[in-house]
């Protein structure tokens, strides 16, 4: 048979690919013809496959082990960190220019922003500047320089009063508790002198939701509810008479729509 020490190692690769089911169809006949005439090769293939099956089945025994809570917790923690890493890479990558421009143009006026929105967007869907601000708010944990104030879950009532005062408009709680989420914190961040109230929620599964509320200028458009996907997360944004809203969460369109509806209520 052809072994690793044989003068024709290519055929060893072919034999391995045959065993592993990755042999290209055009080589199948060649390998099968070789197996038909070479008893040693047949024996090798049979053994390799058999060992592979034994090891595969032994590994599958892990699937019958009870859940490991510590592993599950670490898995959630890693998912969150990787998600943040993806977002940060997105913000600092090719999308940075758009986000930065979006924030600047928001401050400069909605007319200029509308011009900007005609350009290529981050994910194939254009969105207004306050969405970009929310992305910044979503990363307030790592961009504390933007942050002006932070309130814990136990200070939500005080936070709403203070944020309403800062925004010079009444800010109501997003009230996602009705969907099983718990408020974790509320913050005020400033992006180019524009205040953005950001609320962070989390459900028992560890899924995070970020809600931002920012004043809507008199000349700015009134956005009807729209949901877009950004990487593995979803955004929903819309406007009321005097405020812009954005919700960021993982999940499906139905998830983000439900969250948005809860905030609108």
């Amino acid at each position: 048979m052809t072994t690793a020490n044989n003068s024709d190692p290519t055929l060893d690769i072919d034999l391995m690919a045959y065993v592993d089911g990755t042999l290209p169809p055009e080589k199948m006949a060649e390998v099968e013809a070789r197996l038909a005439r070479d008893a040693e090769a047949r024996d090798a293939v049979a053994h390799w496959r058999h060992f592979d099956n034994l090891i595969h089945d032994a590994a599958r025994a892990a699937d019958t082990q009870p859940a490991n809570l510590r592993i599950e917790a670490l898995e959630r923690q890693l998912a969150q960190k990787l998600q943040r890493r993806r977002w940060r890479a997105m913000l600092l990558g090719p999308g940075l220019r758009q986000i930065a421009a979006s924030v600047v143009l928001f401050a400069a006026g909605w007319g200029a922003h509308a011009l900007y929105d005609r350009g290529p967007s981050l994910t194939g869907a254009a969105y207004p500047g306050f969405v970009g601000q929310t992305l910044a708010g979503h990363y307030a944990y790592t961009h504390a320089a933007h942050q002006r104030a932070e309130f814990g879950a136990e200070d939500m009532d005080e936070a709403l009063v203070w944020l309403s005062d800062q925004m010079q408009q009444r800010i109501d709680s997003p009230a996602l508790e009705r969907l099983g989420y718990q408020a974790e914190s509320a913050r005020l961040i400033m992006v180019d002198e524009t205040p953005v109230a950001v609320f962070y929620y989390r459900n028992p599964e560890g899924e995070q939701v970020t809600v931002s509320i920012t004043p809507r200028g008199a000349a700015e458009p009134d956005y009807t509810l729209r949901a877009v996907r950004v990487q593995d997360d979803r955004l929903a944004y819309w406007s009321s008479d005097r405020l812009h809203y954005t919700v960021v969460a993982s999940g499906t369109n139905a998830t983000i729509t439900t969250l948005a509806a809860a905030v609108q209520r």
Partner: protein, 171 residues
Amino acid sequence: MSLKSELHTHVASLRRYALVLTRDTVAADDLVQETLVKAIAKADTFQPGTDLRPWLFRILHNTHISDLRRAKTRADAAADLPEPIARECQHTQLELKQVLGALDQLPEAQRVPIILIALREMSYAEAARSLDVPLGTFMSRLARGREALRRIVQGVASGKLKLMQRKEGGA
């Protein structure tokens, strides 16, 4: 697939890989935990857009190697695995022990490619990336490892047969 579900699938794969490497369910879960702790610490080095699975497997592999060097745990570990779910006959268990025993005689560089491919969750290229070696090197190690494994197992079987024949002849 969302990142969470993707990660969940990979963690299940890590537990399978760790179980074959350590031969012990508690040690396997410890290895996976250690891997995840390191992955969390290194999350900022992960390149979004690249494949997550080889990255995680590489961390687990390196962690396992470090553990082996530090404590030589494999030498101390029992050669028993939990019952496989698909093949429960005694004969298969004996064969499994024989194959795992033969695997232990291979150098780490040959043993690990065999296990990674047996999991059937990665292409050759992904498995090579997991071990941080060129594809050609990986293929060569896999080929040599498989052939060495066959020789060892056949040698063991042949030795047992000769022993039985001697016993029968002497009786």
